[in-house]
Assembly symmetry: C2
Homo-oligomer: 333 residues x 2
C-alpha cells in the first residue's frame, strides 16, 4: 500500500506538498497540484486513517450509546447521524446498553480520550458522576432526548407533545382520558413518566379534573401496556380515551382493548407516542418524533463543538407532529 512519501517521490515533491494537496490547502500551485494528483491516481494512494488520526490527535469517530429501549428506532437515529457525517471522514461507533452495568461501563469508557471525538447519549439520563468526568475530559457530549443543565442536548418538547396528544382527545369530546405513561429513565423502573406534565397541562386547560387512577406508568413494552389497559378497563368507570407513552405499549393497549371486546375507536380511543412502521400499519394515531432529524442534529452539534471549540452547552428542541390515523373518534355515549 502506497504511503505519502511514495507519492511525494513519484511526483518529485516533498511530503508536505502532498499533504497540502490531499487536505485541500490553497497553498499549492495549480501545476504542482496536478502533478501530485496524478501520482496519487497512478499509485492508488489513500491516506491511512489511523496515521491521520494519530497525527491530527483526532480519532474522527463519534460514539453512539444506545439503550435497548431504542432498538426499534436505532437505525433511524443512526441514519440521521450518518447524514450529518456524510461529507466528513467521521465514522460512527455504536455501543448498546442493556443493563445498568452496561450503561455504567459505557459511561466509564466513552469519555476516555482516544476512543472517539464526541459522544451521543441516546435517551438515557446521565449520572452526575459521569457529567463530572465529562467536564474534566475535553470530549464533547450531547444528550439525545434527555436533558442536563451542563450538557448539550437535542430533544423534543415532550410536554408540548403530550399536551397535544391529550388535547386532541379532549377536543374530540372525551372527558375520561387516561394516560399509560413511560418511565423517563429506561434504566429505572420508577420515576416520573415522560408525558405526565403535558398530559396534566392539557387536562387543566380543558378544566377536566385529573383522576389518579387514570395515570399509570410502565416500561416501553407491549406487556406493560397490556397490563395497564387491563387495569383501566377494570375500573368502575373506564376511560374513553387513552394516551400512551410509547408505540410498544400502545401495541399492548390496543390488543388488550380488542381482546376485552372494546372496539377501537368506537368504544375507546388511543393516541400513541413515537413512530414506527408497525404503528403505521396498525393505524395508530400517534405523535411522530423526528428521529432521523434528531440523530442528525446531535451529530451536527458535536461536529460544531469540535470545530468551533465552544464549550457552552446548547439545547436544540425539535417539533413533534400528531399523525392522525384510525384509533381516535369522539366518545360514543
Amino acid at each position: 500500500m502506497a504511503t505519502i512519501s511514495d507519492v511525494a517521490r513519484a511526483a518529485g515533491v516533498g511530503i508536505g506538498t502532498v499533504s497540502r494537496v490531499i487536505n485541500g490547502s490553497p497553498l499549492v500551485s495549480p501545476a504542482t497540484r496536478r502533478r501530485v494528483q496524478e501520482a496519487i491516481e497512478r499509485l492508488g494512494y489513500q491516506p491511512n486513517p489511523v496515521a491521520r488520526a494519530f497525527g491530527r490527535r483526532r480519532t474522527h469517530k463519534l460514539e453512539l450509546l444506545a439503550p435497548r429501549f431504542v432498538a426499534p428506532f436505532l437505525f433511524e437515529l443512526m441514519q440521521g447521524v450518518e447524514d450529518a457525517l456524510a461529507d466528513t471522514d467521521y465514522a460512527v461507533l455504536v455501543r448498546s446498553m442493556d443493563t445498568p452495568s452496561d450503561r455504567d461501563r459505557a459511561f466509564e469508557t466513552c469519555c476516555r480520550r482516544g476512543r472517539a471525538d464526541g459522544v451521543v447519549i441516546v435517551w438515557t439520563p446521565p449520572t452526575e458522576g459521569f457529567v463530572d468526568r465529562l467536564m474534566a475530559e475535553p470530549i464533547p457530549a450531547v444528550l439525545l432526548n434527555a436533558i442536563h443543565a451542563r450538557l448539550s442536548s437535542v430533544s423534543v418538547d415532550h410536554d408540548q407533545a403530550a399536551r397535544r396528544a391529550a388535547a386532541y382527545c379532549l377536543q374530540l369530546g372525551h372527558r375520561r382520558v387516561a394516560l399509560v405513561d413511560r418511565f423517563a429513565d429506561p434504566f429505572a423502573d420508577a420515576g416520573p413518566g415522560i408525558c405526565k406534565r403535558g398530559f396534566d397541562q392539557a387536562l387543566a386547560a380543558a378544566r377536566v379534573d385529573p383522576r389518579p387512577e387514570y395515570e399509570l406508568t410502565g416500561g416501553p413494552e407491549p406487556t406493560s401496556g397490556a397490563a395497564a389497559m387491563e387495569r383501566l378497563l377494570d375500573l368502575p368507570e373506564p376511560p374513553t380515551a387513552v394516551v400512551v407513552g410509547s408505540d410498544a405499549q400502545a401495541v399492548g393497549v390496543l390488543d388488550r382493548a380488542r381482546s376485552r371486546e372494546r372496539r377501537v375507536p368506537a368504544d375507546v380511543s388511543i393516541v400513541s407516542y413515537n413512530e414506527s412502521s408497525i404503528s403505521a400499519f396498525l393505524g395508530l394515531t400517534t405523535v411522530r418524533l423526528p428521529l432521523r432529524e434528531m440523530g442528525k442534529r446531535s451529530a451536527e452539534l458535536l461536529l460544531h463543538t469540535l470545530i468551533e471549540h465552544t464549550a457552552a452547552p446548547e439545547a436544540v428542541v425539535l417539533d413533534t407532529e400528531l399523525v392522525v390515523r384510525a384509533t381516535c373518534a369522539p366518545p360514543s355515549s
Copy 2:
C-alpha cells in the same frame, strides 16, 4: 494526559518495560511490574488507543454493514457482536445501507485499509466486484445470513427452517398451505424468496402438490404481507395455512386476515419467520432466528481470522427453532 514515557520516568524504568506490563508480557519481574502498576495508577495513565492502533498497524475496530431491512433486529445482532468483543479492546463501527447506492458506497470503502480490521456484512448478498476487491485487500469479511463461496459466513439453514414451518402446518392436517415469501436480496425487489426451497421440500415430502398461485414473494414490510394475503383470500380456493417469510410481513398478513373476517387460527393458520417482541406479543407462531448468537459468531470468526491468519472461508450454520404460539391450529373443515 499521561503517556507511556511519563509512566516510565515515574517508575524509573524504560518504556519497553511499561509496554510489557500493560500488554501482560510475562517477561517482567514481579517487583518491577508492581512498581510500574503503581505509577500507572498514580498517573491515571491509559494507553492511547490511536497510537496503539498506529503502532500495531491494527485499527481494533470491526465494521458492521446493515441494510434497512434488519433495523428491527439490528440491536440484537450488535449485542451479539459486542458479546464477542467484550474481553478485547475492539469496538464496532456501524454503517447503515438504505439504498443500493448506500450499499455500493459501503462496499467500496469498508475494505480500504485502515478503517477496520474486519467487516460483518449483514443480510446482503455481496456483489462479485466487491468480493474481488475483498480478496485483494488483506481485510477479512464475514457474511451474516448470506452465502458466498469465497467468503466466510454465519447463517441459519433457511431450507430447514422453512421446511420445518411448512411441515408443522402439514402435520396439523393442512393441505392448502401457502407461502408469503421474502426476497432474499433486500436490495432487489425480485429474485428468489428465502423460504421457497424448504417450503417446496416440505410439500414434496408430504406428497402435496405445489400450487403456483399459493407462492407469493414480496419485501419484508407489513404492507407487502397485507397485499399478499389479500390475493390469497381472493383465490377461489384460499389456503387454510400461510407460511410467512418475515415477521414484518406476518403483521400485515395477520391484520388483513382479521379485517377480512377470518379468525386466526380457526379459519387460517399463520407461521412466521424471525423473532421480535412485537411478534411475541401478537402471539405469532414463528421460526426464531438466533440473532444474538449470529452476531456473536460472526465477530468471533473475524477475530479468529485476525489472530490465526487463516484465509480459508468458513461457514457456520446455526439452528433455528419453531416457537409455537397462538396462530396455528388444525384446519376447521
